[in-house]
């Protein structure tokens, strides 16, 4: 169901992309207006999201721990997996973000000789780290279209990424990485019964979107080669707030750009917000010091909580309670 719905949505998006790419009158809308809207929605959407998250109180530490917590002096603490100080928590977060450590602990349940067993399952970690880093490097490589002169890190990244000099233009390792990574993530949702059962349309759609961005990019680089000069003129002019619409931009570029814009708009309202969200995951970013420090529930002070005590309760219902013969702590004689 989810798969069909997101395929349907994707086909509609693809149709819009084609209309935008091949109807010349719409180029201004799709080439200049839409990117600005998308960028604004992306930035504002994410800031709003973060502020909304930050408004949720964190009454106490809900750390998931994967090691010995700080205890007596002669018991060795696992400082990264069970942090006690801010610095240790920072280190845990740092490795979580750059190495996906919690995903590395991913296990798979299975039945072996009539027993339920949990085995290591590193494939998800492997393909997702390949995908994420490929995506990051691809975005950084795109800085050659964003600024003039091209920042010095771009040729450096290109050289490493194209180290094997396969084909011309050189096929980048990240091109293969992002495609293989995305195909694994998609295949996992489609062919693994358990994962398919819990997959929703909103799980498939981001994969389709990013895959279509990757595919259109590959098409432009390796198959239907695009004259890049008007493309860079367009991107550079947008990013320096003096938009120019060159006449001879290849339609494939408009399709690529449309999907990028769709992704940017969709980003703050989809599961993709895990990009800023990972920094705010309470099970990761809180030091496990529940026993050493008192964490006062913020509700108590923020809302000036009024507790309804038994005394007040009895005052409220005294007559009714006496009528049915319930024992009362305080008899007031002049109530009747």
């Amino acid at each position: 169901m989810g798969l069909l719905f997101s395929i349907f949505t994707f086909i509609i998006l693809l149709a819009i992309a084609f209309i935008g790419a091949y109807v010349e009158g719409l180029h201004y809308l799709f080439g200049i207006v839409l990117p600005y809207i998308a960028f604004a929605v992306f930035i504002i959407g994410i800031v709003v999201r973060i502020i909304k998250w930050a408004q949720s109180p964190v009454p106490f530490r809900i750390t998931t721990t994967c090691g010995q917590q700080r205890s007596l002096d002669f018991i060795k603490q696992n400082k990264i997996d069970n942090p006690f100080t801010g610095l240790q928590t920072f280190i845990r977060m740092f490795f979580e973000i750059i190495l996906f450590r919690s995903l590395f602990r991913n296990t798979k349940a299975g039945i072996k000789e009539n027993k339920l067993t949990y085995g290591a399952n590193k494939w998800l970690w492997l393909f997702s780290i390949v995908f994420h880093y490929s995506f990051l490097i691809i975005v950084l490589r795109h800085f050659r279209f964003f600024t003039e002169p091209v920042p010095s890190f771009v040729p450096f990244i290109q050289e490493i990424d194209g180290f094997f000099q396969i084909g011309l233009p050189i096929i980048y390792l990240t091109t293969i990485g992002i495609t293989v990574g995305l195909l694994y993530l998609l295949a996992r949702r489609i062919f693994d019964n358990q994962v398919r059962y819990i997959s929703l349309a909103s799980d498939y759609l981001p994969l389709f979107l990013i895959l279509s961005i990757a595919i259109t990019g590959i098409l432009m680089r390796h198959f239907f080669k695009v004259d890049l000069t008007p493309v860079k003129q367009l991107t550079l002019s947008i990013l320096s707030f003096q938009p120019i619409l060159p006449a001879d931009v290849n339609p494939i570029f408009y399709i690529h750009l449309f999907f990028v814009c769709t992704l940017l708009i969709y980003f703050p309202m989809s599961k993709l917000v895990h990009m800023p969200g990972i920094f705010l995951s309470p099970t990761r970013n809180l030091a496990n010091n529940n026993r050493a420090k008192r964490h006062i529930n913020p509700w108590n002070s923020d809302f000036k909580m009024h507790y309804h005590t038994y005394e007040e309760y009895e005052d409220e219902f005294r007559e009714v309670m006496r009528d049915v013969g319930l024992p009362l702590e305080k008899e007031e004689k002049n109530v009747d």
Binding site: F42, I43, I46, V47, I50, I51, A54, Q55, S56, P57, V58, F143, R144, F145, F146, T147, E148, P149, V150, P151, S152, V154, P155, Q158, E159, Q165, L168, P169, K225, V226, D227, L228, T229, P230, K232, Q233, L236, S237, L239, S240, F241, Q242, I244, D248, P276, F279, P298
Partner: protein, 150 residues
């Protein structure tokens, strides 16, 4: 808002990282004009139409390289003449300046083609025997090119 300063710091980092091209373009006073190529004056016609050459010239060079180096096919027919498949002898006979032609776009896009790992641009070997001065100039040029690229 809880943990106010951490959240605000995070938001500031997010904003800076994701809008960095905008600031770079303001700082560099980005010029949105496209690179100007110095085209040959004595020759009017290339081996393929302009639009094709702009997008696909690397394909032609790649094919030539394979044919010449791997299959020993050195000539191809263009209209009624037989032309050598050679970057330096054919392409650069007309487009005689690497700096004013090839590099203009390649630098604009941060492209560093490995043609020049083996080939030497014609301008740089005009004299038959290089003098010490030439070598110095060559080194300087390469350094300049590198610094332009970086």
């Amino acid at each position: 808002m809880y943990d106010g300063w951490k959240i605000i710091l995070g938001i500031i980092i997010f904003l800076v990282v994701f809008t960095i091209p905008l600031w770079l373009n303001i700082a560099n006073k980005a010029d949105t004009s496209i690179p100007e190529l110095v085209l040959p004056t004595d020759y009017k016609e290339c081996i393929a139409p302009r639009d094709y050459m702009r997008a696909y010239h690397m394909d032609i060079l790649d094919e030539w390289r394979d044919k010449v180096v791997r299959q020993d096919i050195r000539m191809f027919k263009f209209k009624d003449q037989v032309v050598e498949m050679s970057l330096t002898k054919t392409c650069m006979k007309c487009h005689d300046s690497k700096q004013n032609f090839c590099d203009r776009c390649h630098n604009y896009f941060g492209v560093k083609p490995y043609c020049w790992d083996c080939h030497v641009a014609p301008e740089e070997v005009k004299k038959k025997f290089a003098t010490r001065e030439d070598l110095n100039r060559l080194n300087e040029d390469t350094e300049n090119n590198n610094s332009v690229r970086r």
